[in-house]
């Protein structure tokens, strides 16, 4: 029973995510598209939870849906691209069909390659009470260096944002 509910929800969120994603790539309006993407993100974070990654799911909602997408929407608004004025934003039907075909082909290739023969399914991380610890321990031991590197990445991003977006001398 529990498994059935779990399975149902898993499929539900997965399919909603896919549907939202499809809606996202096909909406002409940038704002609408962005919101559909946010929806996908939410569904995915639900899936994360169901895959025993509660901490990551939380971060997903906070960072992705919350921060990143907001920035996107902000820029869309800032540049006044919110209205679907540019009707040709999406390629013509031929382009779409070809792209779809390429996508399906790639998908087929991926599936035929990853026929999903897995070695042995490990047990879930049982300690539901402590969802942060399994993530934080390797983060500060094994993956200390990458963790520090991310800070440099962010530093670069900051510099970059400042350098690029600040009003410089008049464009030639």
């Amino acid at each position: 029973m529990n498994t059935l509910v779990y399975t149902f929800h898993f499929y539900l969120f997965g399919l909603i995510a896919i549907a939202s994603a499809l809606a996202f790539v096909t909406r002409k309006s940038a704002v609408a598209a962005a919101l559909w993407l946010v929806n996908t993100m939410f569904c995915l974070s639900a899936l994360f939870v169901m895959l025993d990654a509660q901490f990551v799911a939380a971060v997903q909602v906070l960072v992705y849906a919350g921060a990143i997408m907001v920035v996107f929407l902000f820029v869309v608004m800032l540049l006044n691209l919110g209205e679907a004025s540019e009707v040709t934003d999406i390629r013509s039907l031929g382009g779409k069909l070809t792209a779809g075909f390429v996508g399906l082909l790639m998908l087929a290739e991926l599936f035929s390659l990853s026929r999903l023969k897995f070695p042995r399914l490990m047990g879930a991380m049982t300690d539901h009470a402590n969802v942060v610890n399994p993530v934080s321990a390797p983060l500060f031991h094994e993956f200390l260096l990458p963790f520090e590197v991310t800070s440099v990445v962010l530093l670069v991003a900051v510099i970059g944002a400042v350098v690029l977006a600040k009003r410089g001398p008049k464009a030639q």
């Binding site: 779990y6 399975t7 898993f10 997965g14 995510a17 896919i18 994603a21 996202f24 790539v25 940038a30 598209a33 962005a34 996908t40 993100m41 995915l44 899936l47 994360f48 895959l51 990654a53 901490f55 990551v56 971060v59 997903q60 992705y64 996107f72 820029v75 540049l79 691209l81 540019e86 040709t88 934003d89 999406i90 390629r91 382009g95 792209a99 779809g100 390429v102 996508g103 399906l104 790639m106 998908l107 991926l110 599936f111 990853s114 999903l116 490990m122 991380m125 399994p134 993530v135 983060l139 094994e142 993956f143 990458p146 991310t150 990445v153 962010l154 991003a157 970059g160 944002a161 977006a165």
Partner: protein, 98 residues
């Protein structure tokens, strides 16, 4: 459910790819890339679950950070482009070719 998760992940990834291919708005294309990243994150989570190790989850955290950084830089670039071209339609942005 691992297989299903990987399936969803692959489908979302491909939708992202298709999105990149059919859109011409720089910002939307960038969003498609974000979709692809998230799709990969799903794979990571599922595979972490499969292996019972947290490495995958840690990886997802790094990816999110990078995505944030990319978003900052990318949107700055978009703004910069907009200043020059008054447009973010990629068809208008082709001074460089050949």
């Amino acid at each position: 459910m691992i297989a299903e998760a990987l399936f969803f992940s692959a489908v979302l990834f491909i939708i992202g790819v298709v999105g990149v291919l059919i859109r011409r708005n720089a910002i939307i294309i960038f969003m498609c890339v974000e979709l692809m990243l998230t799709a990969v994150n799903l794979s990571f989570i599922a595979l972490a679950r499969l292996h019972g190790s947290a490495t995958g989850q840690v990886f997802v955290l790094f990816v999110m950070t990078v995505a944030a950084a990319e978003a900052a830089v990318g949107l700055a670039i978009v703004i910069s482009i907009f200043r020059h071209h008054k447009s973010v339609d990629l068809r208008n942005i082709n001074l460089l070719k050949g």
